[in-house]
């Protein structure tokens, strides 16, 4: 294999306990890099096998043994000197939350350490009949009994497994009670506080009785052309050092600094998106976090930016002596969306999400949806077992996280996610989700491009599929007007394609505040020894996005699913800086499909051929 890969993929069948080791394929590497792209290629092949066996993909149970999950690194992961190379990507053929592709990304150390243990990726199918964990140590994969760990929270599981597998560079990715209880918002947590958060991948692990994957190894990642790589790395890191966001903004304040920015732009969703401006948002802002709770920064492996926060609540009912985060998205979902303006309660709720293995975005958003259902009198007292579901109730927030993870009391309704919750209580329009995935912390009535991105994002309501907030609000790489719709389709497509490259390289998306496709072409050419141009890099991204779309279409997804909650398209923002605005989605979508070469939201055979996607 060329540089950037350690050359092996572990194929694990948990039903029969078989383990096969395959070589990483050079052809697929060139076409899809690694990470998300390569995982999709593997899942597509696997989906075809299922179809050949007469299994209809539209009937595939996301929590059944036929679902498959891939833990994937890319040629950037674990390469010292590659900008922010400490991440990995997880893909599942089908998400239990959305019914679409499952996809999430995480930082920490696990990704690089998987490579140091000798593997680029792990492909896992089937289901064990009792709890297991997978140990990947210096080129050996074993399926081990996890009965002693089942029922334990994330922190205890991490500590105990690190003791049991005590090699060099040990890292644990595991699920907590939420994943075990098949909560479709369950995430996979590695290194205690970093998570592959979205689309319920923790429940996919739980359905396979897979508690954890422990990696450890002393290997390293080869680089094809070290001299060229040193030069490319030096240039890229220099750009990061000169960029005020990657050099100052993110290191100093982390992501939480956006609370005040987005609130001032009038698009920080408040009380389940009923409003876009919260006069009290400063109480839960990045400034407040830095002033009162921050202990130090913590980077993912090999990252110069170090946006991670180590924090502490020293006293009071929500005391936690050491935790990490919360990030901007978690603060918004658990705090602003629920109307809870108590930073300590938000930190506690975020900590509990890590402890129990829950996605804070979907969790907070679902609690907020329940609060609006209650506000409208749609949840009767008898369901609540005494919980006060009023907006702003800090104790309810903290208690609800526990109840969701354990499906306890009203928690068993909230554990379904906001879409199913709101359907059950008769107001599906109150679920602020796309394709069943709760949207993140930017109301697109204040930035139209991000609305188009949410609607067309393959995994559902997601900002990091195509983060057009960067040009629309932050002015990076250049400032565009957030309130116009002209040109937004082009921006969304470009951002979605480029993000696929980053998630397949796999390194951190935050590098793209300073680096573009040309930088990635240089870096990846030097690492792998292949020659990528800027255009080829973007074409790889487009190929990946189209392949993902193709797989989704087999589950029945079409343009009808590329939509937004009616609140955003037909209820004008009631007050604040973007008062009166709605998202003119259909106009943008038309242009977007034209640029994509899709009909009815699905890539045409000609488009697939053009992108060399083999059917």
């Amino acid at each position: 294999m060329p540089g950037g890969y350690v050359g092996k993929i572990g194929i694990i069948d948990l039903t029969d306990g078989s383990i096969r080791i395959e070589e990483t394929c050079e052809v697929l590497g060139k076409k899809y890099l690694g990470g998300k792209g390569y995982a999709l290629a593997l899942l597509y092949e696997y989906a075809k096998e299922l179809e050949e066996k007469g299994k209809a993909l539209s009937d595939l149970d996301p929590l059944g043994p036929d679902n498959a999950i891939v833990f994937a690194t890319g040629p950037a992961t674990g390469v010292p000197g590659f900008p922010s190379p400490g991440r990995y990507h997880v893909m599942a053929l089908r998400s239990p939350l959305t019914g679409s592709i499952g996809s999430a990304n995480s930082g920490g150390e696990w990704g690089p350490f998987l490579k140091f243990a000798g593997f680029d990726m792990l492909f896992i199918k089937g289901a064990a009949d009792s709890p297991v964990y997978i140990s990947v140590v210096d080129g050996c994969i074993e399926i081990c009994d996890a009965s002693d760990y089942w029922g334990k929270n994330v922190f205890d599981t991490d500590d105990l497994l690190k003791k049991e597998v005590c090699g060099k560079n040990v890292s644990v990715a595991c699920i907590g009670p939420a994943g075990e209880n098949l909560v479709p918002m369950a995430n996979i947590v590695n290194d205690k506080h970093r998570a592959a958060g979205r689309t319920g991948l923790g429940a996919v692990m739980g359905s396979k009785f897979l508690k954890a994957i422990v990696v450890s190894g002393s290997g390293s990642v080869p680089v094809a052309n070290m001299e060229k790589f040193r030069e490319a790395s030096r240039e890229a890191l220099e750009k990061e050092r000169k960029n005020s966001v990657t050099a100052e903004g993110l290191p100093t304040y982390g992501t939480a600094i956006l609370v005040n920015v987005i609130n001032n732009a009038g698009m920080l969703p408040f009380k389940n998106w009923q409003f876009g401006y919260n006069p009290e948002a400063d109480k839960i802002s990045g400034e407040t976090l830095a002033k009162n709770y921050l202990i130090k920064r913590r980077p993912c492996w090999g990252c110069n930016i170090a946006c991670g926060r180590v924090t502490s609540v020293k006293t009071g009912p929500y005391q936690i002596l050491l935790t990490e985060g919360p990030e901007y998205e978690s603060i918004w979902a658990l705090g602003n969306s629920t109307g809870v303006m108590d930073m300590e309660a938000v930190i506690k709720a975020n900590h509990l999400c890590d402890e129990f293995g829950l996605d804070p975005i979907s969790t907070g958003s679902t609690i907020a949806a329940a609060m609006e259902l209650r506000q409208r009198g749609l949840i009767k007292d008898e369901y609540l077992h005494g919980i006060d579901l009023s907006f702003g109730n800090a104790a309810t927030l903290v208690e609800s996280v526990w109840r969701i993870a354990h499906k306890d009391g009203f928690g068993k309704y909230m554990a379904l996610g906001s879409k199913r919750l709101c359907e059950i209580f008769g107001a599906p329009e109150l679920s602020m989700s796309v394709k069943g995935l709760e949207m993140p912390a930017y109301d697109p009535r204040g930035a139209k491009g991000i609305g188009l991105n949410y609607a067309t994002s393959n995994r559902g309501g997601c900002h990091v599929t195509g983060y057009t907030i960067s040009p629309e609000i932050l002015g990076l790489p250049t400032k565009i007007d957030p309130l116009t719709i002209e040109g937004k389709a082009q921006w969304v497509k470009a951002f979605q394609d480029f993000t696929c490259v980053v998630n397949s390289a796999v390194n951190c998306l935050f590098t793209t505040f300073a680096l573009g496709a040309a930088d990635y072409a240089n870096l990846l050419s030097a690492v792998t020894g292949w020659t990528f141009t800027e255009d080829e890099i973007m074409r790889i991204g487009e190929r990946i996005y189209n392949l993902e779309r193709l797989i989704m279409s087999k589950f029945g997804f079409t343009d009808k699913d590329d939509t937004l909650p009616p609140r955003l398209t037909s209820e004008p923002m009631p007050e604040g800086p973007v008062k009166g605005q709605v998202v003119e989605l259909e106009q943008m979508k038309k242009e977007y499909y034209r640029l994509r070469g899709w009909v009815n939201g699905i890539p045409t055979p000609e488009k697939l051929k053009e992108l060399e996607i083999e059917l």
Partner: protein, 120 residues
């Protein structure tokens, strides 16, 4: 009033007239200024009110006098005569870079000043 003053026929009197007008506040606006992140830390101020003539120059002058001339240096590029391009400065939630034409301030506006920041 101008006519009455013009009867006196002198520039001095004309200046006096302008002074009276500013004292009366006829062209003055009052604007709320919010500082965030490093600016809040550096200048120890979260929020203040400025009174000036509604122009960018007036805003900068008032900002320098009320908070610090250093803050003006931090946010304004003397060469290009624009707010520094890497900052996020919003007037009533609208980024100044999205405001077409000359930047003017109205009574009751809120100006939010952020350093270069991002997140996800």
């Amino acid at each position: 009033m101008q006519e009455v003053l013009n009867v006196e026929g002198s520039n001095i009197i004309f200046l006096y007239y302008q002074d009276i007008e500013s004292l009366c506040g006829a062209n003055m606006v009052s604007v709320k200024v919010l500082l965030f992140a490093i600016f809040r830390e550096k200048y120890g101020i979260k929020e203040t009110e400025l009174e000036f003539d509604g122009t960018l120059n007036g805003f900068l002058k008032a900002l320098g006098e009320k908070i610090s001339p250093k803050l003006v240096e931090d946010i304004y590029d003397q060469e290009s005569k624009h707010i520094k391009s890497n900052l996020i400065v919003m007037v009533n939630g609208r980024n100044v870079k999205d405001i077409k034409g000359e930047l003017k301030f109205n009574n009751g506006d809120t100006v939010a000043i952020f350093p270069p920041v991002a997140g996800g």
